[in-house]
């Protein structure tokens, strides 16, 4: 529905093009102008973006991956070209377009970026027909051009300004290399940064549990990988801040053991904690030195921390006595911990200082009215805490505004739980049975747009990685 909508609107815009934008008149004369409807197409509040078809030397999957990533950023209205990708891109006035990119783009890429100057440098060489793309509703156009040096020149055109916003050269590994897709995702994030100055989430992955094992999947739903396999049921994966390690819990005869695994080597080590107990829900501190976790024993369940850098110093943060305290998560500044506590009866979201002092209610609730609340996750920008709450016998995802303590419900269809923030603090992965099976979905908190991350039933307990830098993403 959403995908289909722009096309007819675009056609309307084309019909009106000459009237609205006289400069574009000569470029649209070839298109049938028999239909005139009095609406001017503006694709909502989001800028339009088109990823231009590429020459054969750049694998089309690069363009497809980038286009999908930019679509999934939910910051653009992706423009589908009328007639598919077969439309002529270069204006007749630029006959050298096909030959020029190699030299022109290489020269431009030396500076890394160029200013938004109409018809400057590579843009002129590419001969991009700005009025045409403006008529199509595009504010940005992305061109991918191969060079002889086995690298790709990426050009982000500012269509409205009629010039190049930024141009850069990337070296992509071969499509068969394990690092290929993440390298392409990184390009998508650079394009987003070039166009809007916003940090994207394309180069990130999500860990989750399925059939008692931990899997990783790219945020676009590709590259599903089994990252932890043992005969013990695994639960609660949690990323380390480096995007390379993760902690998780394994069942050993009704007890829970915590492990930290290195994704690049697939080697793991047990977290040194004192005593045998059911340890679960690990969470790294932002400096990666401390692991907070829940420990269930005969005193109930309480939150502890352990120094994972030196493998020492077990510390107890809560004393529940007749209440359980669990599911700790650090604030991005490492100063505070949000957690679940049953101290008022039903589980609700509380907050304390990272040393366990100053414990108080975090997400307000009406006693006896508001449903139980679980599984807090603090957004990377520090402004929000997502959690799920019982609403009429099922779970819905809520977001707490940290500053105002206002709570708003984000989901309403089916059962939705265990939210985890994307690195842009705008997207969120969660578990939902809205399709009939329990699977992972991603919602854009700002627009409410939802997509399935994966379609296999039984996926749960997702954990979204930080942005994955070049050195941390080699596949195990």
């Amino acid at each position: 529905m959403r995908r289909a909508a722009p096309l007819p609107l675009v056609l309307v815009a084309l019909a009106l093009g000459p009237a609205a934008r006289p400069a574009a008149a000569q470029d649209t004369t070839r298109i049938d102008r028999g239909v005139r409807i009095g609406i001017i197409y503006r694709p909502g509040v989001r800028p339009g973006l088109v990823v231009l078809p590429v020459a054969a030397a750049v694998p089309d999957s690069v363009r497809a991956i980038i286009a999908r990533d930019l679509d999934y950023s939910d910051r653009f209205e992706l423009i589908t070209l009328p007639g598919g990708d077969s439309i002529r891109l270069a204006a007749p006035a630029a006959p050298t377009a096909s030959a020029a990119p190699a030299s022109g783009a290489t020269a431009a890429s030396a500076g890394g970026r160029t200013g938004t100057k109409p018809t400057s440098g590579a843009a002129a060489a590419l001969g991009l027909n700005y009025p045409l793309y403006q008529a199509l509703g595009a504010d940005f156009a992305v061109a991918l051009a191969p060079t002889k040096a086995d690298s790709t020149i990426v050009t982000v055109h500012d269509v409205a300004a009629g010039g190049v916003r930024r141009e850069f050269r990337v070296h992509l590994p071969p499509a068969t290399a394990p690092s290929f897709r993440m390298a392409v995702h990184r390009v998508a994030d650079r394009i987003l940064d070039a166009a809007l100055g916003a940090a994207g989430t394309a180069a990130s992955r999500v860990l989750f549990v399925m059939d008692g094992k931990v899997y990783a999947i790219d945020q676009d739903g590709a590259e599903l990988l089994l990252v932890s396999a043992s005969e013990h049921t695994a639960l609660s994966p949690a990323w380390a801040p480096d995007g390379r390690h993760f902690a998780y819990m394994e069942f050993w005869q009704g007890r829970g053991r915590l492990f930290i695994e290195d994704l690049t080597t697939a080697k793991r080590s047990a977290v040194a904690v004192v005593g045998q107990a059911l340890d679960f829900t690990p969470a790294f501190s932002p400096d990666a030195k401390t692991l907070a976790f829940s420990r269930a024993n005969e005193e109930g369940t309480d939150i502890y921390t352990v120094n994972v850098k030196d493998g020492c110093c077990l510390q107890r943060l809560t004393v529940g006595r007749f209440a359980d305290n669990l599911s700790p998560v650090y604030s991005p500044d490492g100063q505070r911990i949000a957690f679940v506590s049953t101290r008022a009866g039903a589980p609700q979201i509380y907050i304390m200082a990272a040393d366990g002092t100053d414990q108080q209610l975090f997400a307000p609730f009406d006693y006896g009215v508001t449903g139980a609340s679980y599984a807090p996750d603090w957004s990377p920008d520090g402004q929000s805490v997502a959690f799920h709450r019982d609403v009429g016998g099922t779970y819905q995802v809520f977001v707490l505004d940290v500053r105002t303590r206002a709570v708003r419900q984000l989901t309403s269809v089916g059962r939705n739980e265990d939210p985890t923030w994307a690195p842009d603090s705008r997207h969120m992965a969660f578990v939902s049975d809205r399709s009939g099976v329990r699977q992972l979905w991603i919602v854009d908190v700002e627009t409410g747009r939802i997509r399935a991350l994966e379609t296999q039933g039984g996926a749960r307990l997702p954990a979204w990685s930080p942005r994955l830098a070049e050195t941390t993403t080699s596949t195990p």
């Binding site: 008692g212 049921t233 639960l235 609660s236 069942f251 005869q253 009704g254 007890r255 829970g256 059911l278 679960f280 829900t281 829940s294 269930a296 024993n297 005969e298 109930g300 369940t301 359980d324 669990l326 599911s327 679940v340 049953t342 039903a346 589980p347 139980a372 679980y374 599984a375 799920h388 779970y395 739980e417 265990d418 749960r460 307990l461």
Partner: protein, 207 residues
Amino acid sequence: MKRFQLLVLGALVAAAAACGGSKPETAPTPVAAGPDTSGQAAERARQDSLERARQDAARRAAEEADRIAKQRAADSLAAIGRGSEAVRTLFATLIHFDFDKANIHADDAAILDQKVGIMQANSQVTISITGNCDERGSDEYNLALGNRRAVSAKQYMTSHGIDAGRIATASNGKEKPIDSGHNEAAWAKNRNDQFDIVAGGDVLKQP
């Protein structure tokens, strides 16, 4: 046998009376001993065979007694085994909980009382209690809830006199349902405490 002893006694008395008379009369004694000697040998042979028969009978009786004793031992061991199995089955009875609750039901208290009795009658036994939850609750919270269910059963048993050191607790959360269904009947079954004998459970006495 008795009559034979009387004859021997009579002969001895007669011999003593004869000895009390004149000496020449001692001569016939060997003569008399001749037929007497042959009679004694026969008697001895008879006695020996009787003795052998007696020993055989005694041996057979001993063997029979031994066999019966062994049979009885085996029977009683089997009986003990049957008893242990019954006690073990009784001990494994689950107790159940309401949704998101960890308090012991009144009717489950009787089941726990049985288990207390079994543990009192078998002081060598150590156990573990594992709490389980239904699929509806939150994954991670259910680990804490299952733990609380196990702990509440342990608290009941320790408050009824069982040493806390004999009971370990654990939680499966919702990870190991005994009924994979997605309805209230299945959920009710899956909200339970399971009781496992960890050690000392080879022979169990009835409480």
